[in-house]
């Protein structure tokens, strides 16, 4: 029944509704796939018993006619950044290796309340810091994809690498991710699936281990645009426990998934290109423009002049917030503690042992840019640039409905590449970071393959709370691209 795992959320919901399958059956198929694909290391913690129990409950609800909507009974992977009551939550870090929350994050609780079945906690870059899932304390995730004719392990992207590998490898029908600078969209692009980051504030951050508070947003990783809309509908919504949560009712995202861009204005920001960017990406981008144009959209060039400052701005703002957010991991109340002869020594030993190199690097950068004498030159300036970047977008959205760009400047690279050059690694986020800084909704849609047979995504970005436009354009792009490639072995 490997085809069960290949179902979209929408198809699974339909099959469940018609009684063609059960949640238990779907869940068992996924559990079997997870067990057969442990080589991918997509999960830090598997929760098969919990999953079967929830699947059973879902089937029982359905039998009574109380099914809760399209997510009910659908097996999903949960990024290990979301705190889950009674289920170990590590955030990919040694420092939380044995941390079992007594509470459930709002996003995972929303999904649970919509009947979704959690298969386990997906692997991720440590504390969501990374673009390749190599910083996880629990080992790197292997992408289910391989280059044509080559036997080299590839990264799935990151930080939601386990989620992306699980969804593209058909270990789960969908997965949650979080996106701070591209952590949903870049891995989606690397693994040939859809990854969506909503407007900042759509999804509550309550109970999600914080990386950079002003940027962190949860979102879905799915295999279709419609699935992303269905799942976002279940995850998002106002939460009084998060002061930055948007106090608005959600529109009907799924209804917006109409592959019709007639009359829509699509902006092409000329700044979204990079020296040495593979030709295949440039070609695919041009192809994307043509597709939308052919479907009746008006395409036009726009300029976002401050784009080139986005990456450095991001790598000031995000580490600054992270350095403070991670101060709570001090060995005093929970998580790893390495005893020392004094309080300060305990801090030092605990944090030296508990955090990996990339996390330590960002904590140091963050503390540095906030320190006396440097605060104005770095943090304050970065905040100013951030508002200019937001203004770039606002100006552009005066004229166009959505923007079309590549998602990432490359296809997936091999495990071991770019490992010793953090700057090269940071460049992965160059096209995703601007929308993060501006808090805008953006989606990566799988649009083609490069010469090595690896998937490439195109990104659509919309204005604040314009998810409906985003889903509409993304549905059209999806239809035009009709991406159907799957990783080998699926």
């Amino acid at each position: 029944m490997s085809d069960l795992r290949d179902l979209s959320i929408a198809d699974a919901a339909e099959a469940l509704g018609k009684g063609e399958t059960s949640s238990v059956e779907l869940t068992n198929a996924c559990i079997a796939a997870i067990e057969a694909n442990r080589v991918l290391n997509a999960f830090i913690t598997e929760t098969p018993d919990l999953a079967r129990a929830r699947a059973k409950e879902s089937d029982a609800r359905r039998a009574k006619g109380d099914a809760k909507g399209p997510m009910d009974g659908v097996p999903i992977a949960m990024k290990d950044l979301f705190c889950t009551e009674g289920v170990r939550t590590t955030a990919g870090s040694h420092i939380l290796e044995n941390f079992v929350p007594t509470y459930e994050s709002t996003v995972s609780a929303n999904l649970r309340d919509h009947g979704a079945v959690m298969l386990g906690k997906a692997n991720m870059d440590e504390l969501a810091m990374g673009s390749s899932n190599i910083t996880s304390y629990y080992g790197p995730v292997k992408s289910p994809w391989t280059r044509l004719g080559a036997n080299v392990d590839l990264v799935p992207g990151g930080s939601s690498g386990g989620s992306a590998a699980a969804v593209s490898g058909r270990l789960a029908i969908a997965a949650t991710g979080t996106d701070t600078g591209g952590s949903i969209r870049q891995p989606a692009s690397f693994t040939g699936i859809v990854g969506m980051k909503p407007t900042y504030g759509r999804c509550s951050r309550w109970g999600t281990v914080a990386f950079a508070s002003s940027l962190d947003q949860a979102g879905p990783l799915t295999r279709t645009v419609e699935d992303a809309a269905i799942m976002l509908q279940a995850m998002a919504g106002h939460d009084p426990k998060d002061s930055t949560s948007l106090p608005f009712d959600l529109p009907d995202f799924r209804a917006a998934c109409v592959p019709n861009v007639k009359g829509m204005k699509i902006g092409i920001p000329k700044e979204y290109t990079l020296d040495g960017m593979p030709a295949a990406i440039k070609t695919l981008w041009e192809q994307g423009v043509e597709w939308l144009h052919d479907m009746g959209a008006e395409t036009r060039d726009v300029t976002l002049p401050h784009t080139k400052y986005a990456l450095p701005t991001y790598y000031i703002v995000a580490p600054a917030e992270a350095s403070s957010n991670l101060a709570r991991y001090d060995g005093v109340r929970y998580g790893l503690r390495v005893e020392g002869d004094s309080l300060d020594e305990m801090y030092e030993l605990t944090r030296a042992a508990g955090f990996g190199a990339e996390v330590q690097r960002r904590v140091l950068i963050g503390a540095y840019v906030l320190s006396a004498g440097y605060y104005d030159a770095y943090y304050v300036k970065a905040q100013k640039v951030r508002s200019l970047i937001f203004k770039d977008f606002s100006d552009a959205f005066e004229d166009v409905d959505v923007l079309l760009t590549p998602t990432a400047p490359s296809a997936a690279f091999a495990l071991g590449e770019k490992m010793d050059d953090p700057i090269a690694m940071y460049l992965n986020d160059v096209f995703t970071v601007p929308a993060s800084l501006a808090g805008l909704p953006a989606i990566s849609v799988p649009a083609g393959l490069d010469g090595d047979g690896l998937p490439l995504g195109l990104q659509l970005i919309a204005g604040v709370c314009q998810e409906q436009k985003l889903f509409r354009a993304a549905s059209a792009l999806e239809a035009a691209a009709s991406f159907s490639a799957k990783p080998g072995g699926v």
Partner: protein, 485 residues
Amino acid sequence: MAYLIQGETGDWEVVIGLEVHAQAVTNAKLFSGASTSFGGEPNSQVSLVDAAMPGMLPVLNRKCIEQAVRTGLGLRAKINRRSIFERKNYFYADLPQGYQISQYLHPIVGEGTVTLDMDDGSTRDVGIERLHLEQDAGKSMHDQDPTRSMIDLNRAGVALMEIVSKPDLRSPDEAGAYLRKVRSILRYLGTCDGNMEQGSMRADVNVSVRKKGESGLRTRVEVKNVNSVRFVMQAIEIEAERQVEVWEQGGEVRQETRLYDPNLGETRPMRSKEFAHDYRYFPDPDLLPLDLDEDFIAGIEASLPELPDTKKKRLIEDLGLSAYDAGVIVADRETADYFETAAAGRDAKQVANWLTSNLFGALNKRAVGIPESPVTAENLGALVGLIEDGTISGKLAKDVFEVMLETGKAPAVIVDEKGLQQITDTGAIEAIVDKVIADNPGQADDVRGGNEKAIGWFVGQVMKASQGKANPGQVNALLKQKLLG
């Protein structure tokens, strides 16, 4: 009379600024729903947010904002329509988040004024620099275990209002008067109980000295966490003298944080570990800027009680009290309330007299405060009422008051029980007068013979014969009529 320190090189002036940390009266903490009550079992009032569990987020408690605005209005200060919460980053075991959420560049309350009432009846205005909201830290307990420190997070996250004065204070007395006045205002407003012993009000004292006549400010030293008015005054005196000595010996006062040790009577530097130097403040990204609308502020303004300065003015101007009495009465909200209740419908000056000359003394002797007074405000008022309507004389009233102190009974009851009503019945008094005249013919002739002063002796005899109950005015009039015709 300026407070000056006589050094070897001349006179030195002391410059003082105070930072008062006042715990806001609220049921829940600044950013969590946990209880703020005092004295709970350790760690029994700690929410997930207070313990800084992963993924927890602060949500601002509206009541704390109200209390801060209320306090700001009471300090006659500018209420800032937009304020911003920032993170003050430092590591300490009783600071679970690794940062304190505070306000830094944009506090909720700006400049204001506090008027001090000095002992000589004069007043003096002291500038308020700002008031900001911040979280309290937990408590480290070092005496529970031989090798480890224990942490109690009950207080972690409780809302503090930090009230920062301008460096306008010039003597320990002024600093004491300032603290008492701020505490009085907070209590009137009901925004802080001002209980320094329980730590709900603490002060950091900034002290510097300069040569008399010098205009600039020299390096200041912060004496942290002083927990009584007396200690604040002592700490200033001792620290100022230390600084004078340092300067005069050719040294340089270092900008540092010190602790006051009341047992040793000295200040000493805090260990550097107890005091981080770079707090890396930045706006807390978990919280939006706090925007206050005019209606919110107007609503609080409309609900403010009459504050001590206004009340004092009213007691002087409308009720005719002396500035001193009025100052004493309004200093404490409980005293003021007591007075107002007692004085309702009575001779206010007489009530004030009874309160400041008789009741205060009696309570002091018993070492109790107004709330524990055996004489209720209603009963004190009633006592003055009995004097006013002539039921008892002022002299008898003192005896009644003593009984009131001992028994707590109402004065009318005591007067009844002891039969102390003043005799105002002319017939009854006349009978006594006649008897006294008849019993003392010699003295009567003396008066009739022109020694009018001797009439005083007769008054005394009549009062004695009536056990003090006869109305002295009537007695006097009757004697004059009978002896002098």
